[in-house]
Symmetry: C2
Subunit: 324 residues, 2 copies
């Protein structure tokens, strides 16, 4: 955790770019003495930040590269709550599993679990999710919305909108949403979202949004069985991207849409979601557990359920399916 | 766990009542040798059953009283799945908590956690639930329905119907349902139900139905602050009841309605529920987290949500509230 003063110092250094900032300037921005600045800079160095200092010039933050450690994520994070508590790991079984444990241990709303690698990462229907070391964003965010469990599936859609817009901002790439939880570029999967919850009949206790984003993989990084159906932002954008910048943009967007949702309900989110969705306004086939329904996807409901109108004009509510 | 042969022996002894059954008779009913019978009887005695034996007469089961130990619950249980695996405790923090742990450890559908006493039993909204030693039924049942999480709240209503009918069968008492989760006799609370779930957006992983039933408490057993709002089956029926018989009837009813629900959907359950509900068809006040709405309770939806029509004719969907 970084204190308020240290956060001010980091923000100032970060916006200063390559320029040195004097101790006096930093002291004014952070609202403390120059002696305190020196002490806080030392603490920040202890916490892993690389800060260069030069006599008579002051301090400068050395570029942070593609690290997604707590210190790098907090530096420049523009949220109030989301991602403010970070649990970073080199390698985990699954970030969802750790987030569930933290939820039980009363971790606060906005807690983010992130790992360089997941050994047993999973997607919908307990399917395997390939999450190799250092190239993607594998993270789980804990929320505690005061809502009934019927509303939980909407958060997959809120997260989808937040991620689509973050990728547009940071990577300038156009991403499509495929119901319920996939983000695609040119038909290839770049992101999966898995929302899990613990609840009683009336009230969500904890909601955990798992996000897996293929960022800097090259074509060769994908196993052959995935190469035709998966892609990465780097492959599509022809360059590497900063994972921490992307995470920060996602946290900021999610916080904004979460607040809009809690104040105004699902309608504004639904409109955004439908504008990015390739599933809606087409004839598709939905393969459910017991059935296969072909029909016109007319939209989603207030509860995130897909509506399919079949040839006879009957509307089917699809809670769970694979879409073709 | 009791093997198939031992279950046959117990069923035979149980239906024999006070009569002795010869080893030969038991061997024929269980489909094994007389020597095997002797061995199984010894095993049953080890497992806690009190079985009397007399030379030339045979075996007889001694009355089991009000015990709710695994052996007593399994004896005479008429279900296929529900309550077939029992975890019995003298005293626990809460049976819900243990059931959640067992769910994580891949316990099978139908697993029942039951305790003589709960130290920190809780109801809706994390409210305290008074569950003193030996007088009530404090239990949690694990189900794993292949359903989306939106359907979970319906299980509180399914359980309510199953319990109302079990109390009618075993105790000959008329019980009313108060939305969402209380059972009342003459306006006093006799049972609370708390349905909790672990799920992802599309699929319930585990559903835990907690049931607290005041069975054999006397008026003096209730703390003074509860005496005007709570009652027990013994107080209302003027006699003590067998907890194990009641549990067996609840498991049987729940299994039946669960199967009906999975095959035919919520409609048949909804009709039963509404016929027992005092909340429906009246003008009531619902106090939600942020609001207080007075209106005519017109019914419940397919998803177990209460519908309130206010004076202006607007229909409100109530997911969570206290009702007056």
């Amino acid at each position: 955790m970084v204190s308020e003063i240290r956060r001010s110092i980091l923000t100032a250094l970060s916006s200063g770019g390559d320029q040195f900032l004097s101790g006096q300037e930093l002291a004014e921005k952070a609202g403390c003495s120059r002696t305190a600045i020196w002490k806080h800079i030392e603490d920040l160095r202890q916490a892993g930040f690389v800060i260069e200092s030069k006599r008579k010039k002051g301090y400068r933050l050395v570029s942070k590269g593609d690290s997604i450690k707590e210190s790098d994520l907090l530096l420049g994070l523009k949220t109030e709550t989301l991602g403010r508590t970070v649990h970073y790991f080199e390698s985990v079984e699954s970030t969802q599993k750790i987030a569930h444990q933290l939820a039980q241990e009363k971790a606060p709303e906005g807690t983010l679990v992130i790992a360089e690698e997941q050994v047993t990462g999973r997607g919908r229907m307990a399917r395997q999710w390939h999450s190799p070391k250092g190239t993607g964003i594998w993270m789980s965010l804990l929320l505690r919305p005061l809502l009934p469990p019927q509303k939980a599936p909407q958060f997959t859609l809120i997260a989808a909108v937040a991620i689509v817009e973050a990728i547009k901002e940071v990577c300038e790439l156009k991403v499509d949403i495929k119901w319920p939880n996939d983000l695609l570029i040119e038909g290839r999967k770049v992101t999966g979202i898995l929302t899990e919850l613990q609840a009683d009949s009336e009230q969500i206790h904890s909601l955990i949004i798992g996000m897996g984003i293929n960022v800097n993989q090259s074509r060769e990084d994908f196993p052959s069985e995935l190469s035709s159906i998966a892609t990465s932002l780097a492959i599509e954008g022809n360059r590497q991207f900063s994972r921490s910048s992307l995470i920060q943009a996602i946290m900021k967007n999610l916080e904004t849409y979460y607040a809009i949702y809690m104040e105004e309900g699902f309608v504004p989110i639904k409109a955004k979601w439908e504008s990015y969705a390739v599933t809606i306004g087409r004839t598709i086939t939905a393969r459910t557990l017991n059935d296969e329904i072909t029909g016109y996807a007319s939209g989603i409901t207030e509860e995130g359920v897909l509506l399919l109108v079949d040839q006879s004009g009957k509307t089917h509510k699809i809670y769970s399916a694979d879409i073709e």
